[in-house]
Subunit: 242 residues, 2 copies
Amino acid sequence: MAQNIYDDPEFQAGYRRLARSEQGLAGAPEWPTVRRLLPDLSGRDVVDLGCGYGAFARWAAEQHAAVVDAFDVSEQMLRRAAELTEPGKVIRYARADLDTLQLPSASYDVAYSALVLHYLTDLPRFVGMVHAALRPGGGFVFTCEHPVYTAPTVAAWIEHDGRRAWPLDRYGVEGERVRDWLAPGVRKQHRILATLLNALLDAGFTIRRVEESVPSEEQITADPTLAEERDRPMFLMVAADR
Amino acid sequence: MAQNIYDDPEFQAGYRRLARSEQGLAGAPEWPTVRRLLPDLSGRDVVDLGCGYGAFARWAAEQHAAVVDAFDVSEQMLRRAAELTEPGKVIRYARADLDTLQLPSASYDVAYSALVLHYLTDLPRFVGMVHAALRPGGGFVFTCEHPVYTAPTVAAWIEHDGRRAWPLDRYGVEGERVRDWLAPGVRKQHRILATLLNALLDAGFTIRRVEESVPSEEQITADPTLAEERDRPMFLMVAADR
């Protein structure tokens, strides 16, 4: 199974202070792009794979999704998600290791997974499982760390010739990368772009749209720290149809 | 129109000495991957957009393609292509600016374009034109410089912390990049991956396969200079179906 770093106390304490944790979807710069990738959720059965604090699940419920099954490996995040969620019958939180979760066949119209794929150790299994869990015509929208972001030996900006640069290396060497992010020893899986997209195609998905996190001028004006995201993309976002 | 650097005498002199010029397809490390993307050409009508010295066109003729229409902007390359080609009726070389070329509708089964897209100034027009020129069920296979390769302010390896690194910056800033490669002032167009793939989707193509140039262990053993290509991909390769 994938490492459950989200229940590490040091990691969790740091994670709770991120803008995307405190502000939910509004605190995620990539959300406006992701939202455009999503189909209308009204009356649909939705599964959220890696729900964290449940921000997307609650948004899906607001969009009048019929059902939102929301899974996460972290007990602490699920507890907080439940605290933040109004009682109701639409959202069902459950704990699951996404590297082994099996969903019932042809049970959902929309599958959503935000910033989880780069933790999973068996991508073809996961993508195949999601494909089987969708009804024909259903859609899968995911975000993950961009291969350019996961690749380097040392994933940190450098100064070169008076410019900020991202020291890309080992792009073609797939496999584990150990990072110090919020806590030491966070284990991620680096996969090249071709591997990510071909896993979808091999599972039978049709690619509908591909996006990369490039901040707009307006976003950089509102938050100048986003300027560096123009120099190398942090996230890949894909919409695929069964 | 795109710059015609290939008829610049200094550029041409350097280009003729490249392994891919002297050895044809066998001198292009990405060819084994590209070949796997191609459908069977036997009996098919093929168009080669940016044929250079005609190595692919001759290979397509050897595969028993019915017709190979091969276009290039460079007079010198077309002259050399004709010299290298046995007289016959299958291959038809013609000069064309790919930024303005119009092909007849539904006339080809396979469109091929190697290392040309990054010179074109109007990608949506080109991709739409290729889509219209293919018969329903036809395939488009192209290679182009990888966005990670075209992006940086200075596209050259650096040493950092004792390691080779590719100083990625300006990934999200699309547009012209001027390079000194074989001759000074070569003008290329940087586009992010999302732009390249979405141009295909917008034109009505279905993406069948995506590949990136990552050399195999066997290739690196045979040619150790390829090792650096494992640190950052130079080419993107895509197969799409009408």
